[in-house]
């Protein structure tokens, strides 16, 4: 069986930052493996480890060459091989929208024909939370969104999942394969890559594809969203900051808390 895991690299913004036009100045960005995808990779690797059958775990990433460092993290955690898709024209887009990403990933699915696709619920930076479900629809797979428990016996027709809804309620569902599941944090305990894993990752296959290799062309991609403005939101609240060193700040907060009758 084959599991395809989508892996994104996300930008984390420093405490202090500047906006340069429609982007955050790159000096204030740190790139890392998307938190939700980390759980998706772990889930796939565990599926492999817990099954007697052979499970191949393949990662798919839309991103420039820079992202290969992040992709190697997923390989170091146990994925078998990786696919990276990029076209320089994509760098010009202000936003890679979910339908465009789904279109590209669908072409990867076409090549790989996986039984199960795991994506993160969302990326930490743009947080559209839509690519996995759009992909499922595009490739005509079933799907389950926001999955925080997965019970699947390799070879079975259906997977048993819990979907995390709002308010501490989970939906229990059976989902027919092939399917796309969007994976929620907390579903497992993602491992840290071992030194051995990191070493092995260097020699695992990481194939870079252009759009044309997948039968796509940049002109045909939807790219229907355009960022036209980016700013720091005006804070509506009138938060009162306590100033001074930690002790002074704590003393002022203590006065406030005593005023409110705390610890009395």
């Amino acid at each position: 069986m084959k599991v395809l895991v989508t892996v994104s690299e996300v930008a984390d913004v420093d405490d202090e930052f500047e906006i340069d036009g429609l982007e955050i100045d790159s000096r204030y960005l740190t790139y890392d493996l998307n938190e939700w995808d980390n759980y998706a990779v772990e889930e796939a690797v565990q599926l492999d480890e817990e099954s007697e059958e052979e499970v191949e775990v393949v990662t798919a990433t839309i991103g420039p060459e820079r992202t290969e460092e992040t992709i190697r993290q997923a390989l170091a955690k146990g994925a078998d091989r990786a696919i990276r898709v990029w076209d320089d024209s994509l760098a010009d887009a202000s936003v890679l929208d979910p339908i465009t990403k789904a279109t590209i990933l669908a072409a990867v699915v076409e090549e790989e024909d996986p039984d199960l696709v795991l994506t993160g619920v969302q990326t930490g930076d743009y947080a559209f939370g839509a690519t996995g479900v759009a992909l499922a629809s595009q490739i005509d797979y079933g799907w389950g969104a926001v999955v925080n428990y997965l019970d699947y016996e390799v070879g079975d027709d259906t997977a048993e999942v819990h979907r995390e809804l709002e308010g501490g309620v989970e939906e229990l569902a059976e989902i027919r394969l092939p399917a796309v599941l969007t994976i929620q944090t907390g579903i497992n305990e993602p491992r840290y890559a071992s030194l051995r894993g990191i070493r092995q990752a260097q020699s695992k296959p990481l194939d870079a594809h252009g759009l044309e290799d997948l039968g796509l062309s940049a002109d045909e991609l939807p790219l229907d969203l355009e960022l036209t403005d980016l700013e720091v939101p005006e804070v509506e609240s009138d938060v009162e900051f306590f100033e001074g060193g930690a002790e002074e700040e704590a003393a002022q907060l203590a006065d406030l808390l005593r005023d409110k009758g705390v610890a009395s």
């Binding site: 913004v13 405490d15 930052f17 906006i19 955050i24 936003v95 929208d97 979910p98 339908i99 789904a102 930076d125 947080a127 559209f128 939370g129 839509a130 996995g132 479900v133 759009a134 926001v146 819990h162 995390e164 809804l165 709002e166 308010g167 501490g168 309620v169 229990l172 569902a173 059976e174 989902i175 027919r176 944090t185 907390g186 939807p222 229907d224 969203l225 355009e226 960022l227 980016l230 700013e231 720091v232 939101p233 804070v235 509506e236 609240s237 938060v239 009162e240 900051f241 306590f242 060193g245 930690a246 700040e249 704590a250 003393a251 907060l253 406030l256 409110k260 009758g261 705390v262 610890a263």
Partner: protein, 322 residues
């Protein structure tokens, strides 16, 4: 032409965002100069339709299929309703089930999707405002094309009220049962435990800023000194540093204490959903751009590892080793 809003329900009740999406949908319909229609799939659709018939709604389409909201049924229904081009924008709540269906609706209809809008407008096409980078920035996004799918953030629009005079009709759609790959077998409540954080008057809430499991003792010591209860943001519970019954937020508990002290918590929308109703909110966070400060009443922009021990001492508590 019309705007189509998608309603959502669970275990026999329409969910609050279903009424908010009517308000957002009406706003879009006004901006586009068109009607507002609503579709509700599954459950007691007649009773739901009656409830959704609020001011500003022009028509309600019901699809009587199954008990619970099923994303695939909703997708099929909207796909068929909108196939004739009658609907331009489709508006869906940005909820778990909304995000479980809207992207597939967009894909089926061959339309763009923009999610988690906190503002909507129509110019040549749809324009939305939304947060980016964990609420540190806000962006305006222009959606290309005459028709789009948009999900709207819960709590951003008021619920539609007042009696409407919408035309209610059973929609002429055919749900293909064979194409539905998901069977809902039940529901389960999680997070019941010994401590009920919703009853606490003072909550000391800890987030990822605490860095290590070993440091949680610091927060526990503070809670003890303040005679307060410990709660947490999601990563702390995901890491199993505290049990699930301590989680505040969209998928945890909704709390409304007199005082909520957020320590090393950024204030992501899913967290804020669970604590914004607190009387007094205090935030201790080194990041001045953290969105928690948008809703805090008092703040300390400093290192929690300095402030918390000092605060424990203020109340005569023992500062543990951390």
């Amino acid at each position: 032409m019309a705007v189509l809003a998608v309603a959502e329900h669970r275990r026999g009740d329409l969910r609050d965002p279903s009424f908010e999406v009517l308000t957002a949908g009406r706003e879009l319909a006004d901006a586009a100069g068109t009607e507002l229609h609503v579709v509700v799939t599954g459950g007691d659709v007649d009773a739901f339709a009656e409830d959704l018939n609020r001011e500003g709604v022009d028509a309600i389409h019901t699809v009587d299929y199954g008990e619970e909201f099923n994303a695939e049924v909703a997708v099929q229904a909207v796909d068929q309703l909108a196939a004739d081009g009658e609907f331009e924008h489709v508006v869906v709540p940005n909820t778990v089930n909304g995000l479980g269906s809207a992207p597939a609706i967009a894909q089926r209809l061959g339309r763009p999707i923009a999610t988690d809008a906190i503002g909507v407008d129509v110019d040549e096409g749809l324009i939305i405002t939304r947060e980016l980078y964990g609420g540190k920035t806000e962006g305006t996004i222009a959606v290309d094309g005459p028709a789009a799918v948009v999900t709207v953030r819960p709590g951003e629009w008021p619920a539609a009220e007042g009696a409407g005079d919408a035309a209610i009709e059973a929609a002429d759609v055919d749900i293909d049962e064979g194409a539905i790959g998901t069977t809902v077998t039940g529901f389960q409540e999680v997070g019941a435990g010994d401590v009920d954080i919703t009853e606490a008057e003072v909550l000391v809430s800890v987030g990822r800023g605490i860095e290590e499991e070993e440091n949680i003792v610091l927060i526990q010591a503070l809670a003890e000194a303040l005679d307060a209860t410990v709660s947490a943001s999601r990563p702390i519970v995901d890491n199993e540093w505290l049990p699930k019954d301590r989680q505040v937020g969209q998928s945890g508990k909704v709390v409304t204490p007199d005082v909520y002290i957020a320590i090393g918590i950024s204030g992501a929308v899913q967290h804020v959903a669970g604590m914004k109703g607190s009387d007094t909110i205090v935030a201790i966070n080194t990041d001045p751009s953290a969105p928690i400060y948008d809703i805090a009443d008092f703040g300390i922009e400093d290192d929690l590892f300095d402030v918390v021990p000092a605060l424990i001492e203020e109340f005569g508590g023992d500062v543990p080793d951390f």
